[in-house]
Symmetry: C2
DNA sequence: GGCATTTGCCTAAAAGTCTTAGGCATGCGC
DNA sequence: GCGCATGCCTAAGACTTTTAGGCAAATGCC
């Protein structure tokens, strides 16, 4: 009997692809086993359980997204950086809806602390360097940016913007412009 | 044998309570049956299936939230209305996390069209009346407000703000202030 | 009040998922 | 070429969803 050559890494990648195809919530140990044409129980040599699988996919997605954002940010500052950051997020969510959802999977604190989530936080703060904000304004701004971008992407993904004829891309640009203006005016020298 | 007195309405309400206790995703036909101390199959006289249950809870939550927002908005305008709107959303999400999640459950288009979702859209536009925005700016602003509020509430709920010592209430006020300023400056007379 | 009908909750059962336990064979290290 | 660790398997129990069919309680009609 030929072995399938499973591993936690391969399963995680396949799980990420599966998430993009059918949605992160529908990623199941059974579905993954079917995809590799092995019995379900075989996966338990590589994964602790279903939650472990989701955690691994989440960490994978966080890493991938952080890499993208980091690349987008390279050599940019100010509004240019803000727009690149925003687009990197939105593009990733549109290309990989399942992985984007996975990246929002709630991790336990220790796992989160050693995840690429901290890079995300650092990069968000890096963008604000162009706007001269002191504390606690910078923290408020970090939270606002995170909220707008995540909120927009998530509403767009769930079809919340399909009732109006206005192009979502236009709204996106309008919002990024607005945030830039807002942050410039909020400068606390 | 005494009958339990089930009905779609009672099941929906109990489902909403269950959602707040264990999370909307964990609301299952089985768990609901246990709560009423009846056999699982009995619920199928009142519900089409599991998806039907979730849809009913979603519609219930949308309605309840719309009522709250509507009450909060009564007699207010301008920034006052914006803040009341924002707080109504956030407070509901904090008091009823499961129902808030339910309200974001993706409904099929016809169901959505006849849901309280349209009231939400109307109320959001009503708030912007205080800011003299023309089209398409008004649509952009509707999307931005929806994104910020939903994004903030959802990040706060998933513990995204617990790493910093800054009080989430302060960030919230800062954001509402910022949005008010932003919309006033964006006025297109 | 007595009777027929509707309705509500039940048992039974099939299919799918998660997870653990234990077994056999494959393929690597020596 | 041999031993052993590992990888994938079968088996099995617990839980969820859903359908089918049955009995009894509630409802309505006379």
């Amino acid at each position: 009997m030929v072995r399938a050559g499973l591993s936690a890494e391969r399963l995680t990648r396949a799980g990420a692809e599966l998430a993009d195809e059918v949605g992160f919530d529908q990623v199941t140990v059974s579905a993954l086993a079917r995809r590799f044409d092995v019995k379900v129980a075989s996966l338990y040599s590589h994964l602790k359980n279903s939650h472990d699988l989701k955690t691994r996919i989440a960490l994978f997605a966080l890493e991938e997204l952080a890499d993208r954002v980091s690349a987008a940010l390279a050599g940019r500052a100010g509004k240019d950086a803000l727009a690149a950051f925003a687009d990197a997020y939105r593009d990733y969510a549109r290309e990989h809806p399942g992985r984007y959802t996975a990246a929002r999977f709630r991790l336990d604190p220790e796992t989160a602390a050693s995840s690429a989530g901290v890079r995300h936080a650092q990069m968000t703060r890096a963008i604000l360097r162009g706007y001269d904000l002191g504390e606690p304004d910078q923290t408020h701004a970090v939270r606002m940016l995170g909220s707008v971008f995540h909120g927009y992407v998530s509403l767009e993904a769930s079809g919340g913007f399909s009732h109006t004829a206005v192009d979502p891309q236009e709204s996106w640009s309008w919002i990024v412009d607005s945030l830039d203006a807002l942050l410039r005016n909020r400068t606390t020298p």
